[in-house]
Amino acid sequence: MKHPVGLHARPSVKLTKLAKSFGCRIEMAQQAAGPWIDAKSIVKVMAMKAPRDTTLHFRAEGDGAADAVDALSELVQRNFDEDHADAPAP
């Protein structure tokens, strides 16, 4: 994750909204060993406070699981579509 402010407010909202668009169970972690949290929980995602240069791990189970992991990884790699953002998120 290269976003300058890390997984802060706006990126967290985007990530959670995307995760919620899939029916499968989706979890994420800052380390492969966990702890894993529900990627559909905005409160838990924001509470991670994952800083810049964190490698985010995703895992999913159920319908569309592979697509979900792909879509979330792409969102992170696209810098949450916020390359233009100049001000840090609140």
Binding site: V13, K20, K40, I42, V43, M46, A47, P90
Partner: protein, 135 residues
């Protein structure tokens, strides 16, 4: 006209706080959540009014219900009064969240944007006090 997502109402003593919180919800979450805000007394000072809270609830109305975020004392008691004055069919579908007004509004709206139930929207907003974010 009604949305398939739970509506969010922001009630602050300050018109500017209410407007600013609503702006954060709009920019961070998006247009798919019915949203209304009110704050300040009719004379331009600080305060809340039952009438404007009722108007805001009507503006953000959704058949899935409305979650209200408030700041201090009077915002809560006036919101409770506004809910009591609603028609019985609507009254049961409005909840006042025990959550910080700005953060709670963003959390609630994020939950609502996924089509979640009123109960889930309220739980997400209230999870803030139980969690680490505000500590």
């Amino acid at each position: 006209m009604t949305s398939s997502n739970v509506g969010i109402v922001i009630v602050s003593h300050s018109k500017d706080v209410a407007r600013g919180a609503a702006e954060m919800v709009r920019q961070m979450v998006g247009p798919e959540v019915p949203l209304a805000h009110c704050g300040g007394d009719p004379g331009g000072g600080l305060g809340t009014s039952v009438e404007s809270i009722m108007a805001a609830i009507a503006e953000a109305w959704s058949d899935k219900g409305v979650a209200v975020l408030v700041d201090l004392g009077g915002a809560e008691t006036n919101s409770e009064m506004a809910v009591e004055l609603l028609p019985a069919a609507q009254r049961d579908r409005v909840v006042i969240c025990n959550a910080p007004i700005v953060e709670g509004a963003v959390m609630a709206a994020t939950e609502s944007s996924a089509g979640s139930s009123l109960g889930a929207v309220r739980s997400t907003a209230e999870e803030l006090y139980a969690g680490s974010m505000v500590r």
